[in-house]
Subunit: 317 residues, 2 copies
DNA sequence: GCGATAGGTGAGTAATTGCCCATGAGCAAG
DNA sequence: CTTGCTCATGGGCAATTACTCACCTATCGC
């Protein structure tokens, strides 16, 4: 209790310091004087306010190039939602910008007073976006995970996107306590017969919107790195023409779901219908170019949040 | 044209630089390198982005003290809307904080898809809030000025709040081309019979929300400084017990509208009914304490946006 | 009780940023 | 063509901010 109150006080102070710094435009020295602390402490509070995302910064100006790219993307691929953020050449981050813009879009859905079913995939990009969400109270919505977060070794993955999200927005949530890939179609059937999983499957089918990461394949693929898939399985996949995956569903360079054993073993919830729902992919960066292009071509997603450079590739591809 | 395009390019660059600085977290040196300009130019673009309000900063954390004060104010005065922002002791500004919070509240109303009639007063505080509004497209709403902006000498006041607002949000707007005070009740009747004014009067009566400044009286009052009222008239007013004014309507220390000649000559649109509409006062600072207290007590306003220090006074008064 | 540990503090220092100035390009008026 | 004006630029410097280090304190598990 005391601990909790102290933490709150500290965040309160951070908020106040951040407000004085960013809104009132005082220097950290002035803030220190006003709040009766040392300048260093004021600096710490200000940076804490940023780190805890108490201070939100948003760009409120349509950068012409981004808008134009977005419009052309929308037309070319017949998309429901497009967001193009500026590129940051030189940054190796695969999430900066996407995370903020993605969070804004998720927040837009969450603000709806109508109850919504939001489906969510997994992955670093999505996790980064979720981390940008403010605390909200959204008991009217339901959030369903589209894919399992159990690794080959049985442990749960670090990127437990749905729990972080539910925690931030206080909504009912339906995880998928499954691996991404079952060992056989028969095992998948068994797994899917669990009642918990049944609920998730049913909800997934009625989702109003899905937010998904777009995975590239190959030995470096996050799917392998995160321990959802073995290198052997990955090699087999790329040999059979897979270009990318979304929630484990493998597709080829034309964006057609791969027929055959792999997708028959994917334990994820099927993606919501692109006719009724928005399926929005979050991704940027060279390594995702081909997977994104294929996903858009095959209409596996009908919305995208990406950056200028990736948008340029997708327009020329 | 060329000039216009150049200006847009510059703003685009500013937006991009601001994005890289505030969202991507790069230093100005890095931005300079990336954008191929000098560090100083990068700095200028970043600060231009701030000056032009392309970058919006907001505090997304309920500071406990502010929330609590807001809740107590709401109860004590039975208010529909209360917003309390942190105080910035040492700042002499009467608008910092209020302007941002006020703009956020105005924006909230403007975002409504339902057509709204927004009424708006005048004054420095309101002007500062309007200046914080982002560009929007709100053709569904109508904005009506509650009060004239013609000075004693016949010129229009600098604080032409309604025009700035309509300009920013692209809504139909209905100004009041009148002085604040007519020379006699009869003159007021004549002025009000003009068809332009008739429209404004009618709209004012159906307003869903009104945003108003709260004016203090006395020789230093903005009403005098801005040349809406002569010193003689002001003296007469304070002698007759006036404690403050909203849109020219004078009220005493209990918040009762003054009976008698003054208010009979006020040419403003009557304030919308507090039963059906929100009438939100924007004000903070010592000099407004008494006027605010009276306005709240008499229920001339049923919403307030103010700061901690003012809230504390109002709670103890 | 006691050591380990997390997290906070101030000092000092390096990095970053804000601002003033002199300069020069672009442009309209004379 | 010249003049006067506006506005962007880069240099330089002072102010401000970020980071590291050593130290301190409260809490927790043993």
């Amino acid at each position: 209790m005391a601990r909790r109150a102290e933490a709150n006080n500290r965040l309160d102070d951070a908020a106040r310091a951040g407000w004085l710094y960013y809104v009132a435009g005082r220097t950290q020295d002035e803030i220190a004087t006003v709040m009766g602390i040392s300048r260093q402490s004021a600096q710490r509070l200000v940076s804490l306010a940023m780190a805890e995302r108490l201070i939100k910064v948003r760009l409120d100006h349509p950068i012409a190039a981004c808008l134009e790219a977005a419009e052309r993307l929308r037309e070319k691929y017949d998309l429901k939602h497009v967001d193009v953020v500026p590129s940051d050449p030189g940054s190796s981050s695969t999430t900066v910008g996407i995370a903020e813009a993605g969070a804004a879009e998720i927040e837009r859905w969450l603000k709806s007073p109508e109850p919504q079913v939001l489906a969510i995939g997994t992955g670093r990009t999505l996790k980064a976006a979720i981390d940008q969400l403010p605390a909200m109270e959204c008991p009217q919505h339901r959030i369903v995970s589209l894919t399992g977060n159990i690794r080959l070794d049985g442990s749960a993955a670090y990127y437990n996107v749905i729990f972080s999200m539910a925690d931030a927005v206080k909504a009912r949530h339906f995880p998928m306590p499954l691996p991404v890939l079952a060992s056989s179609p028969e095992e998948r059937a068994v797994l899917h017969s669990q009642s918990l999983v049944q609920v998730a499957l049913k909800l997934g089918a009625q989702a109003n919107v899905a937010f998904v990461g777009v995975g590239e394949l190959g030995p470096e693929a996050p799917l392998c790195q995160d321990g959802f898939l073995s290198q052997d399985e990955m090699g087999e996949l790329t040999r059979s023409g897979a270009a990318g995956e979304i929630c484990g569903w493998m597709f080829d360079h034309d964006g057609a779901l791969l027929a055959g054993s792999f997708n028959d073993r994917v334990a994820s919830v099927p993606l919501p219908s692109r006719d009724n729902a928005s399926v929005i992919g979050f991704a940027k960066g060279r390594r995702k170019y081909e997977a994104l292009r294929a996903a858009l071509k095959g209409r596996i997603i009908n919305g995208i949040i990406t950056d200028e450079a990736t948008a340029a590739y997708l327009l020329n591809a």
